[in-house]
């Protein structure tokens, strides 16, 4: 039985043409039981490959091709957790001292980190090929001997690849001779760069992009044929019919590679608690203190909710996490940095009591399970909004200081090819002139929201291009194939991961473009999948405005305004909102919001929550705005797509407006489990592929069929879920934003001068130009000199 032990994914950034998921799925099709992923200088695609392999019931080995100072690459496979940690550290060391996409390691450094690793002699980019080219078989023998010294004789395999090249076969013959002479095992691999034969075209385009030349001029930079795809065990056995031992050896080596990402060894740091306290007891104390401050000592409902949450937190051993977030909040409070939690954390009374969030979940009857559930087996997600700029940077640097240089890092943001970028780069590779290129890319919608009929082909046909013309056809094909493939790694705007001990032995770290920042090689979804705790420290311009407004009020009016204690249900505020007099107010100042406000006529806090959530692409595209407004004014009866959905949709008059409602709808209507519903939310998230979305949609329809929901209702539910999941707001998130909206409205109504000054000091921000803000303030009677 053959096992593919050398494959690259598109996470080798322009050196591989298939996503890890595609590789895993193709491996399953070909009945390859195991595939090893060795991306260039990193584990960028490892979590996705690991999960895809689990899903397709294959196994995933991990490794990396690590660039050497000699100009070649060591193909390294991970045997044990120690090996994984060593490789992570080795890559981190290499990355941290070099510019982006550069960096290499010396043989001595490899020797230091060699434990738990297996080294192959590589294909045309490997150490043996380089040695043979330098000085023939003699040099080849020396190089393999050196490898034996570095990683140990038992961990060196002489790799043979057969892509039907004369030169490669000549190299193979030398390799066989060397292996026999040094009594080392031969290992057959296919040096895979793409899952199927056809993806070679994408690989060629990537090569052209990487070398900044059009395909026509790329010449010998391109691969010679399409043989670097995943091949079935039978086919590989035929290719190596003369060397059956090289095929047999793949199984032997695979059995030695014990490590999987299940065994990552990540531990969340423990919060240092005073002697005699445990994490849980310390958290309980802080929560109760906060609860008394927020709710008073006698609020039975709040107490019950908090007890329920604390019990679950204790059960899931998450006390440390809450304490660490609380610690950041405490730091911010000490340093007078305005901070507010948003996202699903606003569903938690513990978070409210600890001062992490400012929305009262008990009062608003928010769903705690959206934040934390026993079933999901993942870390809760707490996003903190901080004033953008220096204040946020201070909070980030505090986390670095607190957990050490290699104890905390930002999450990455994988930049993938989307419509426009794919069109532009494919067009360049095909040598389209600039005018045509501009025309073609102009056709590709920048607005990523697409309906079923919104395809490349339709766009091009409508614009008068002949989609049957060979070059246009090829261009379209390439654009479609390049969709969702990673282009490069960026930095997430605020996601931080924290680790007990060294984070660089969990995932390789890289320097970010911004000095003093370090990023991990995984994006936030990957981190979440791997159970790595993430805290989002996000910058929000309005927070800076609020902070400055309060300062100005303090300095000039000698008055202290506490955002947490603003008078609720201030009539002036609601009157202003109903008049849509909202220039400069957070989230409700756009023209679309203004046109909706007089119709919705907010009269209580929950109306603002709805107002924030309703003017979003999701409800607008899903055609939910008008039904809601009509029902609110009694011009339309309240109806439900299916009677079973009434409990979920009652508070929004039968119209789904919030993400939680959609998840609940999927759970009720299609019988999804909590985990599946969460998967649905992620599939429709910003950065995930269309393929995955289609899969989930299929599952959703099948589920509803089972539950006996009528086709019309099915259509409606699918439409609301697909249009919403991407842009719909979670209710708790909308509530957090509504709080800021209320605060900004309150400050504007009562402290117009201070608010206007702060707005002007924090430009550019918001929807309007400074001139409009000034004019609006003058209209409200403010004298501006």
């Amino acid at each position: 039985m053959y096992i593919e032990l050398h494959a690259r994914s598109a996470f080798s950034f322009l050196e591989g043409a298939s996503l890890p998921e595609t590789l895993a799925a193709r491996a399953a099709e070909l009945e390859l039981p195991v595939v090893a992923l060795l991306d260039r200088d990193g584990f960028y695609g490892a979590p996705r490959f690991h999960h895809a392999a689990l899903k397709s019931k294959t196994r995933a080995h991990l490794g990396a091709e690590v660039t050497s100072t000699g100009g070649f690459r060591y193909p390294l496979l991970v045997k044990t957790r120690e090996g994984y940690q060593n490789l992570c550290r080795l890559i981190t060391r290499m990355k941290m001292r070099a510019a982006k996409n550069e960096g290499c390691i010396s043989a001595e450094e490899l020797a230091e980190h060699a434990s738990g690793l297996v080294c192959l002699t590589g294909g045309e980019e490997g150490p043996l090929a380089a040695a043979l080219e330098r000085g023939g078989i003699k040099n080849g023998i020396e190089s393999v001997r050196e490898l034996c010294t570095i990683v140990g004789r038992e961990n060196v395999y002489v790799e043979l690849q057969r892509h039907l090249h004369r030169e490669e076969e000549a190299r193979n013959q030398s390799a066989i001779e060397i292996a026999r002479k040094l009594r080392l095992p031969l290992l057959a691999t296919n040096g895979v760069s793409h899952a199927t034969r056809i993806e070679r075209q994408v690989l060629d385009v990537f090569t052209a992009i990487r070398h900044h030349v059009p395909l026509e001029a790329a010449g010998r930079l391109l691969v010679r044929n399409s043989e670097r795809h995943l091949k079935s065990p039978g086919r590989m056995a035929r290719l190596f019919a003369d060397l059956p031992e090289a095929i047999a050896q793949t199984q032997e080596l695979s059995s030695r590679l014990k490590f999987t990402l299940e065994d990552l060894g990540y531990e969340f740091p423990k919060y240092p608690v005073p002697e005699g306290e445990t994490q849980d007891s310390f958290l309980r104390q802080r929560t109760i203190e906060g609860m008394i401050a927020r709710y008073g000592a006698n609020d039975g409902k709040a107490r019950r909710q908090i007890e329920r949450e604390l019990a679950l937190i204790e059960k899931l051993e998450l006390a440390g996490y809450f304490l660490i977030v609380w610690d950041i909040i405490r730091f911010c409070c000490e340093k007078n940095i305005l901070v507010q939690g948003r996202g699903s954390a606003a569903n938690s009374a513990v978070c409210y009591s600890l001062g992490i969030t400012a929305v009262d979940p008990v009062g608003m009857d928010l769903l705690f399970e959206r934040f934390l559930s026993e079933e999901r087996h993942e870390w809760p997600d707490i996003d903190l909004d901080l004033p953008s700029g220096d204040q946020r940077e201070r909070a980030i640097q505090y986390v670095y200081e607190r957990y050490g240089k290699f104890g905390a890092a930002m999450t990455a943001n994988v930049i993938t090819y989307r419509g426009r970028s794919a069109a532009r780069e494919a067009g360049k590779a095909l040598s389209f002139d600039l005018e045509t290129l501009d025309r073609l890319t102009g056709l590709v919608s920048a607005w990523e929201f697409k309906d079923d009929d919104d395809t490349f082909v339709r766009h091009f046909r409508d614009s008068g291009f002949d989609v049957e013309h060979p070059r246009i056809k090829k261009f379209l094909e390439l654009c479609i194939r390049m969709q969702d493939l990673p282009r490069h790694l960026g930095q997430h705007s605020g996601g931080m991961v924290i680790c007990k001990g060294q984070l660089d032995s969990v995932v390789p770290l890289e320097p970010a473009t911004m000095p003093g920042r370090v990023v991990v090689q995984w994006d936030k979804e990957d981190c979440a999948d791997m159970g790595i705790v993430k805290v989002d420290l996000l910058g929000l311009g309005m927070m800076a405005v609020l902070e400055e407004t309060i300062e100005i009020i303090h300095d000039h009016d000698r008055e202290d305004v506490d955002l947490a204690r603003l008078p609720a249900n201030d009539p002036v505020v609601y009157k202003t909102l109903q008049k849509a007099d909202t220039v400069g107010m957070f989230q409700i100042e756009s023209r679309a919001q203004m046109s909706c406000l007089p119709r919705l006529r907010p009269a209580r806090f929950y109306d603002i929550v709805v107002q924030v959530a309703i003017i979003r692409p999701g409800p607008i595209v899903g055609k939910m705005v008008h039904p809601y407004l009509k029902r609110r004014t009694g011009r339309e009866p309240v109806q439900y797509p299916h009677p079973s959905l009434e409990p979920v949709l009652a508070r929004t008059l039968g119209v789904p407006l919030f993400q939680e409602q959609l998840l609940r709808m999927a759970m009720i209507a299609a019988g999804f489990t909590g985990g599946e519903a969460e998967e649905l939310r992620r599939a429709f998230g910003f950065k995930r592929s269309e393929v995955r979305m289609k899969e989930i949609e299929k599952k959703l329809r099948a589920g509803m069929m089972r539950e006996g929901i009528a086709p019309d209702a099915q259509e409606m539910i699918v439409k609301s879920i697909t249009s919403f999941a991407l842009y719909g707001f979670p209710e708790s998130h909308a509530a957090s934003f509504a709080l800021l909206a209320y605060a900004s409205a309150y400050l504007k109504c009562h402290y117009l001068a201070a608010f206007t000054a702060a707005m002007l000091n924090n430009q550019p921000m918001g929807f309007y130009s400074p001139a409009t803000i000034v004019k609006d303030a003058q209209r409200h009677g403010l004298k501006i000199k």
Binding site: E133, R134, G135, G136, R171, R224, N225, R471
Partner: protein, 542 residues
Amino acid sequence: MPFACIHVPNFILQAALRVEPGLRSRPAGIVDGTPPLVTVIAKNKNAGLLGLEIGMTKSQAEQIPGVQLRRRSIAQETAAHAALMDLALSFSPRIEEAAADTIVLDLEGLAQLFGSFENLAVRLAARAKKFGLSVQVATGSNPEVAQLAARGFSGVTVLSPEEESERLGQLPIAALNPSEEIRETLERWGVRTCKALAALPSAQLSERLGQEGIRLQELARGTNQRALIPAQTAARFEEAMELDTPVRELEPLAFLLGRLLDQLCGRLSARTLATNEIRLRMQLEPGEEEIFGIVDNVSIRKKGPTPSSLPSIYEHALRLPLPMRDSKALLRLWRLHLESHPPVSPIVKIEMTAEPAKTRVAQPGLFTPLSPDPEKLEITMARAGHVVGEANIGAAESVNTNRPFSFRMRRFDPAAAASDDDEAASLPAGPFCLLPTTALRVFRPAMPTKVETRERAPVRVFFGSVWGEVRAASGPWRTSGDWWSSDPWNQDEWDLEIEFPAPAIQAPGHFARRAENGVSRGVYRIVRERSSGNWFVRGVYD
């Protein structure tokens, strides 16, 4: 400090005569203006004798029998001025463009080169003749004196400092080019010559005529001192000719091109330069298609349809491997090119530009084999290209692609090839090659063949009339690419040892070696196109 001045009298006419020397001995005039008001602006002596006057209308002038009238051509005047500059620069590096028809030269230090200023002035006039210009030359102690004398006296005038004021004194006041008002005043005073003006008391003259009067007096005395204003000497070698009658045949066109090339090469030679690129731009008569051609050395014309989309400009650049300035050789190259690429309509204007380059220094080495004369080689190459097509001549060059045996033709350039060889020889030894090196004779085009296979590997190959048995096979070696183009490839190559029954077959078997037991054997490269499934013999190993 001595200066010389070259002045071209009747410049507008001379600019026209320069490209049409035949007109010199005939009565000729130049007309200019916007129809219907087209008037005579220049004439030669012969035309004057017949009664042609400046200012006559064109229709009046056409009434005079025998007078040749030409339209004024700014392009020809520009070329004549450029030629005048080249002439001056071939003598002195410091020159001043006083006017389109007048150039002043700084002669400092040139007496040693030319013996005397007189000798120099005579040679200037003689060389100007070669450029097709009849000039007046004068030398003087300052630029103004030289200029006045050149404009005022015909032929060659050499003024010594002592005699300058006296000689200039003979010139009429009009030579100083005064304003109309001053000229009338001086006329009223009875001052008609430079001598009379020079004799007037300066203070009183200044009181009456101001500073302009003093300036004119200094000019008349020959004492106006000023520095030379050196001209920017951008080397631009351009000649043009506007044709009153469109040229429809190759022979007369070649004649005109020859004349322009003579002018250009003469100017290049005056500057000790040559050219490595000559651009020809011809304006074609719109709306008429006539195909130029030559059959058995006889020009033919073929009337064709007159599509409106015909190009109105014919442009081509003749790039030369080495700098040349032999007008005859260049003309031959142009003729060859025009014969194979004739213009589609009659020609109404010709512009020719030469890109200047340093002349090549030919110093053959004692042990270097003599290479062919570059001019002759270029003509031979052009002739061969004319026969086999320009894309099929030159030196083969491998192309940056994985497509097997790809090459393209590069311009044949023995000098560059030699330097490439030198570079290759000086490179360090190449990387270690794992493949055994053996020569492969490639068949171009590849020979179609039939192949019998077993388990996808060839076992018998058909050569003309005989089947060869495969004794050993290596392959397939697969290549594919250019999938984005209209000419993709995807093929498997096999290296086969093939045995033929005796006697050894012809054609590819020609290279087969005769084995001892009476059978012939050879190692061949056989290719299978994967798209069509066709087999070809690509070559044979030595």
